[in-house]
């Protein structure tokens, strides 16, 4: 009994920070309709800033003041981000907004590295609240009790702010009808900024308040992200009570999970989420969301045409060059080109979902890494030869995509994006925690191609054939009746349904197909590297592909391939800078605001008169 209660108390204490961060995300979304993917970064900043204040402010008074100041400072940073990055993209399609916030993540990561260094920071203990109290014989940290007591105050303050103040009334009104609020004389710009301040301040408070329990490190941003998403999805986007109930539910479950099912703690919350979603698609306290008013990926693209004569010639010339390259090039170039081709296929498969399907998946790494792990596990445990593994990898990835897709496609828009990300994290956590099978953090090694394909040149040809074949297949599918149905479902679900297209079904098949294609890329990846580690499943990997598609151009068929080639090629160079994330983040933000058509789209505008596709079509 005592043990049971102690566990619940720990869960409630953990829920405290989670609630603050999630409610901030929820608030921001309610008013601005932007899912702030950088919310985890503000949480991380809160922890670091709080830590810095605690270094200079002494005693219990200093400790709590530091936490408040951390919230304030992070709120102000939020204002800066809102004014510089988000204001220009409020009217942009959802994807652009999400990508812009991802640029913010990168920038904050490197700024934090710059300011606080790479070493983890040990959180100072709260003065006066060190040590434990025994409750029915079980030890409970005093600070946990303080957190449990604190949460209702935060919740109450929020409740008061939202229900009793003019600002809160305007926030709720704007959540329902922004245009009307503006027509009544309220300057929305400042309302948005105010809400962003509040939401980010909450994230900062959450980060600072958990310092004595978890300290601060540079991985905090991504680590909390999926938990926040799960909380808002379970609780219902925009609902504060929902955020609290879900935060408690997840945290308590987590604590029990650690004791009873240590391998599954991370997976557990996803299971709960899926169960909730099946019964209540918009969360426990949520309501149906209307699709973003500016669409998800922007204006419908122009009708896609088969490549023009010139474009075909250029592509053929490019292919010819790739074919003869091994005669001239050194093996370094071949390895680099193999990497690029694999990445291009991965990006092209995401582009297929995103550009054609309008399905903004934020967890595409699940299928790349999933294919890779499938191949690696087969080789490691069943001695499967490479040829068979390369066939089974896309099947496994496709099957995973079909299962995940079944849940994710129940929702649309930002919910869909959050769910895909959450599921990718689920797979990551399974691989990470199930060390006996997957090697956990140590990964799986010694997975080499079959004898005949082990030479650099042969493997280069193999990769080229499969990747280019895959890309051509994606392209063909785009031009097939299935591709048209997919685009019809994207542009107007109602019209598509009226012409007899089962839109959900089409999207589901597309999700599985794109997953399988990513799986081919994943399978090739394992054999080219000889090993696989969980980071291939990480959020950062999903974002890589997303950024690439975005930089390449969402609305251009070649976008994925162009972006993939450009980024993977540039990465070799750019990662030599210590602060390359900062550069990349700024570049992303710049592109979102200034050249939203991406590289391929912008090039196309320049070279409008030539054939439709350009030489970068095939890497």
């Amino acid at each position: 009994m005592g043990f049971f209660i102690a566990q619940i108390l720990t869960g409630l204490a953990n829920a405290s920070a989670l609630f603050m961060v999630a409610s901030g995300l929820s608030l921001i979304f309610g008013v601005t309709r932007i899912v702030n993917f950088a919310h985890g970064s503000f949480y991380m900043l809160g922890a670091y800033v709080g830590y810095s204040f605690m270094q200079v402010l002494p005693g219990a008074w200093g400790f709590w003041t530091s936490i408040l100041l951390a919230g304030l400072v992070v709120g102000v940073i939020g204002i800066i981000v809102e004014m510089l990055v988000l204001r220009p993209v409020y009217k942009a399609p959802e994807l652009f907004q999400l990508v812009a916030t991802f640029g913010v993540i990168l920038v904050i990561q490197d700024l934090a590295l710059l300011v606080w260094g790479a070493d983890d920071v040990l959180g100072p203990r709260a003065p006066g609240l060190k040590g434990i109290i025994r409750i029915m014989g079980e030890p409970v940290p005093k600070y946990d009790l303080a957190l449990i007591a604190l949460t209702p105050f935060v919740a109450f303050a929020l409740w008061w702010l939202i229900t009793k103040t003019r600002m809160g009334i305007l926030v709720r009104a704007a959540t329902q009808d922004r245009e009307m609020v503006g027509a009544l004389g309220v300057n929305q710009a400042w309302l948005f900024t105010g809400v962003f301040f509040l939401g980010c301040a909450l994230a900062g408070l959450g980060g600072a308040v958990q310092l004595p329990k978890g300290g601060a490190d540079l991985l905090m941003d991504f680590n909390i992200l999926s938990a926040i998403f799960v909380v808002v999805v379970i609780g219902g986007m925009g609902s504060l009570p929902g955020a609290y109930v879900a935060a408690v539910l997840i945290s308590v479950l987590n604590v029990f999970g650690v004791n009873y099912l240590p391998q599954s703690t991370l997976a557990l919350m996803f299971v709960v989420m899926v169960v909730v979603l099946i019964f209540r698609p918009f969360g426990l306290f949520g309501r149906e969301e209307v699709a973003g008013e500016h669409g998800q990926v922007g204006e419908p693209e122009r009708p896609i045409k088969p490549a023009g004569q010139t474009a075909r010639m250029i592509v053929l010339a490019g292919l010819g060059a790739l074919a003869v390259l091994p005669l001239l090039g050194d093996s370094f170039t071949l390895v680099l080109l193999t990497d690029i081709a694999i990445f291009c296929l991965f990006a092209a498969s995401l582009h297929f979902l995103l550009g054609l399907g309008g399905l903004v998946s934020f967890g595409h790494a699940a299928y790349f890494g999933g294919g890779a792990y499938a191949a690696a596990l087969l080789v490691t445990y069943a001695g499967t030869p490479m040829e068979l593994a390369l066939i089974l990898a896309p099947l496994a990835a496709g099957l995973t995509a079909i299962i995940f897709g079944w849940v994710c496609l129940r929702l649309t828009g930002v919910y869909f994006a959050m769910l895909t990300l959450a599921f990718a994290q689920l797979l990551w956590s399974l691989v990470f925690q199930w060390g006996d099978l997957t090697g956990g953090d140590d990964g799986l090694v010694d997975i080499w191609p079959s004898e005949w394909a082990s030479g650099t040149t042969t493997f280069y040809y193999l990769a080229m054939v499969l990747c280019i074949g895959g890309i051509i297949m994606l392209r063909h599918t785009a031009h097939s009746p299935f591709g048209y149905a997919l685009r019809a479902a994207r542009d107007s679900q109602r019209q598509a349904e009226a012409t007899g297209i089962n839109t959900k079904h089409v999207q589901w098949v597309a999700f599985g197909f794109a997953g399988a294609m990513a799986g081919i890329a994943g399978g090739l990846f394992v054999f080219s590297k000889g090993s696989i580690f969980p980071n291939e499943l990480e959020i950062a990997r999903s974002f890589d592909a997303l950024i690439v598609v975005f930089l390449g151009g969402v609305k251009t068929l070649a976008g994925g391939v162009v972006g993939g080639a450009a980024l993977e090629g540039a990465k070799d160079y750019i990662t030599r800078f210590e602060y390359w994330r900062l550069l990349l983040g700024l570049l992303i933000i710049f592109v979102v605001i200034v050249a939203p058509d991406g590289i391929a789209g912008t090039l196309r505008k320049w070279a409008e008169s030539i054939g439709l596709m350009k030489r970068e079509d095939q890497a």
Binding site: R172, A173, G182, L184, G185
Partner: protein, 233 residues
């Protein structure tokens, strides 16, 4: 007081208002008449800059307000009462009024909640009810009251009689006449000629976004063929 000069408004490529020009004098009630889809709502939105006219201009009290953000237009004293009511259904009556609140403005009545409850006694009993708990008529009253909280000098009333019971329409007539007596200028859109007859000084008839007739109500009554051509009675 309000001068609209040659505005052309579009939804995407659809050309909805065509070189529309007209004016509203201070203290008058002008009715914008026309069939469903004639462009009445678009005219209202073009005045508010919720739809930005591509060419032409809108001037209010001598100042050009074309392309101004809607919140600034509202702050100048233009009150907008939308046709679909668009009250905040999750907010209470009092909170809905709060959203509309603006500082007092010289030359206009400064409204308080209590003054509004005097004018709309039904709402007074429902202060703490949420918008979604109100009847259609009550919602319509609330939309008007909410806009009045901004102390406007001119209000745009988009089809105030649409979809409400005849008794409430009567009340609406009473309210508009009372507002006019207080010195408020009103531009209202209507399909219901009887309602317009009860309140308007002047009418403007539009069809397909083109002005077809402008004149006093008496002239319109003397020309039944105009009425029959452009209005569905």
């Amino acid at each position: 007081m309000l001068e609209i000069k040659g505005i052309n408004s579009f939804y995407g490529k659809a050309h909805v208002l065509n070189d529309l020009s007209f004016g509203v004098e201070r203290g008058k009630v002008v009715a914008l008449l026309g069939r469903n889809g004639a462009g009445k709502t678009t005219t209202m939105k073009s005045v508010m800059q919720l739809v930005v006219p591509q060419t032409g201009s809108v001037a209010f009290q001598g100042a050009d307000i074309t392309r101004m953000p809607p919140h600034k237009v509202a702050k100048m004293g233009l009150g907008y009462v939308p046709e679909e009511r668009r009250i905040f259904t999750d907010l209470t009556v009092m909170e809905n009024l709060e959203v509309g609140r603006q500082p007092a403005r010289e030359g206009t009545v400064t409204w308080s909640e209590e003054m509004l409850f005097d004018m709309f006694p039904n709402l007074a009993e429902r202060r703490t009810n949420r918008g979604k708990e109100l009847s259609g008529g009550e919602q319509q009253m609330l939309t008007i009251a909410r806009t009045l909280m901004g102390n406007p000098s001119l209000i745009l009333l988009d089809e105030p009689s649409e979809g409400i019971a005849p008794v409430i329409v009567e009340e609406m007539v009473r309210v508009i006449l009372r507002l006019k007596k207080d010195g408020l200028t009103v531009l209202l859109s209507e399909q219901n000629l009887h309602f317009a007859q009860a309140v308007a000084d002047r009418v403007l008839i539009i069809e397909s976004g083109i002005a077809k007739y402008e004149g006093s109500l008496a002239d319109l009554q003397a020309n039944p063929e105009i009425r029959d051509t452009y209005l569905s009675v």
